[in-house]
């Protein structure tokens, strides 16, 4: 894996909510790179800041610190109109909550083409309709559905409308926020296959946010594990599954649901206690590379232990 081109660089990202006097830090000092053409998985507990990171990348959430660089250009903070437009054109986000993210009063036709309208693209009406039909077919929906309203669809169908809506923009980079958790396994498989196919054909890059680790493992080249707004571990998927280091990662892996009733009943859950580290001021934890491409949030003592565990 030589010569990989960084498409997205997130450096020391910090996002806060609330007032200036009572800020709440949702994302703190998060750094990771995403290479062109890869799928980067982001997993972590509910409320850990995954969606917030995605929204900070597409400039919906303002950043309180750090930078986001896309294609070598800083896209966080104050940027020119041209850069803003570039972000809108090239980065699409598929949202988590299919119901809340679709305008209930608009027909599917409008919902799917909304991004085109927003960009004031110069498509003729028939070209636009053609694009809508193609996007709907691409996600396994009938083109006729264009004239229906979102509430007439099941949860899974609505999620596919959300995917069609981002595909129509021909993006380079897609942030997929729990794109398939509302889908049943069979359509989930279709959508995952579809995402892989689009990736191969169009060289797409994905930031894939999900809580279903079996899916993340299957689709991601690399995985970042986030806990309470901070990255805890980052590694190639198989490495992370084979040699998880951080106790939170281990807890996460131990909780993966298995399609096996007996196995489920015998399963031993590991629980992560953030107090277990016993960090001190003399040896504060830091983001360190334990082996090439494998990062972990740890103090020096833990790093030694982790390196030993990896047999180095």
């Amino acid at each position: 894996m030589a010569e990989r081109e960084k498409l997205l660089e997130v450096k020391d990202l910090k996002v806060t909510f609330g007032s200036k006097r009572h800020p709440f830090t949702a994302v703190d000092g998060v750094s990771f790179d995403i290479y062109r053409g890869e799928t980067f998985g982001l997993v972590g507990e509910s409320g850990s800041g995954k969606t917030t990171i995605g929204r900070a990348i597409i400039r919906v959430n303002p950043v309180a610190g750090g930078t986001v660089t896309y294609n070598g250009q800083v896209i966080s903070g104050k940027v020119s109109r041209a850069v803003d437009r570039q972000v809108i054109e090239q980065i699409q986000m598929i949202f988590q909550d299919p119901m809340a993210s679709l305008n209930e009063r608009a027909k599917v036709d409008y919902i799917v083409s909304e991004g085109l309208y927003n960009l004031h693209s110069h498509l003729s009406e028939s070209e636009r309709q053609e694009k809508v039909s193609r996007a709907l077919s691409a996600v396994g929906l009938l083109p006729e559905f264009a004239s229906r309203f979102p509430h007439e669809f099941s949860g899974g169908q609505r999620q596919r409308i959300g995917i069609a809506r981002s595909l129509i923009m021909d993006p380079q980079f897609i942030i997929a926020d729990e794109p398939i958790s509302a889908l049943d396994v069979s359509i989930r498989a279709q959508v995952l296959n579809l995402m892989s196919k689009l990736q191969k054909e169009r060289g797409l890059t994905y930031l894939f946010i999900a809580h279903d680790l079996s899916v993340v493992r299957f689709i991601s080249d690399r995985i970042g594990v986030i806990y309470r707004g901070k990255l805890m571990e980052l590694a190639e998927s198989e490495q992370l599954f084979a040699h998880p280091l951080h106790p939170y990662t281990k807890a996460l892996l131990s909780a993966i649901p298995m399609p096996d009733p007996v196995g489920e009943r015998e399963k031993k859950l590991l629980v992560y206690d953030p107090a277990c580290h016993g960090y001190t001021e003399q040896d504060p934890p830091q983001w360190a590379e334990v082996e090439p491409g494998h990062f972990v949030w740890a103090d020096r003592r833990e790093l030694d232990k982790y390196r030993k565990a990896l047999g180095q």
Binding site: F17, Q96, S181, Q190, P259
Partner: protein, 348 residues
Amino acid sequence: MTNDNIILSFQDLDIRFTLRGQVLNAIRSVSLDVYRGESLAIVGESGSGKSVFTKSAMGLLDANGVIAGGHIWYGGRDLTTFTREKEWLTIRGKEIAMVMQDPMTSLNPLKTVGDQILEAVLLHQDLRGEAAKKAAVQALAAVGIDDPERRYKQYPHEFSGGMRQRVVIAAAVACRPKILICDEPTTALDVTIQAQILDLIKALQKKLDLTTIYITHDLGVVANVADRIAVMYAGDIVEVGRCEEVFYDPKHPYTWALLSSLPQLGVKGQDLYSIQGTPPNLFHEVLGDAFAPRNPQALNIDFVERPPFFEVSPTHKARTWLLDPRAPKVEPPEHIRHLRQKGGYPHG
């Protein structure tokens, strides 16, 4: 109902939606008994009717939907005869509560999270004033929300997706229902919280003598929580059995396809198994076995006549002609025959 063990019984239920003059048969003559205290999982393709089916027991069908036939028995009453909202209010929330698929739609964005839970507590538990408020705060803590006192005063948009889902569960359970229907209760949750929520629901189930119905796509969740599984396809239940029976000895080709699509069985870099074709258009009448057009091994009769339920064991039955003694022997796909070994990951 005479059978004491049955708490809720659907009989030959038909549900139709009218959409711009066209009729959609969302539920096609479905019967299902739900046993007192059990945990039943309903699984099936998106759009197969899982939500509609269960919503019908709460009078929550959309305005363009009707129960066109059949009965829903609960507590000696046929819920399908209800005509007024007032009648439904004796059931909804109180007897049967539902955690909806979309947490945002069941929370009021203009009210604080605490007030919404408090409402349920005041309405359904014998508590007033400070005691009620305390119970509401505890309900938040019980679903694993940190700093519940502060969170109590916040609005839904200040919560993450998974936290909102937990709030909805807290509110539903605060109503102290007999039956708790959880429609995709944990899709928005990460696995650790998911495991905790499932444990929580299971504990509540024991403590409060709840009957639970889970609707979920996640077969891992199903394996964890279900005593029994009902598999739905195109508005019909095609297989029902005890959890082990359905996982280790599935009979309906749709159940085979469902299990085959699991990402756990996928090989990186290769396509996952996915079911060819699309589900039938429910605006048209469905002939025979609804899954036949997508089943490469379908028999001729599958296209003509709806299969009856064939009994596999006293607790396991499936609607497939493959179980007819005259049918050719068709084995389930090789890779799902060993779920017992394949399901798990080596931990750590």
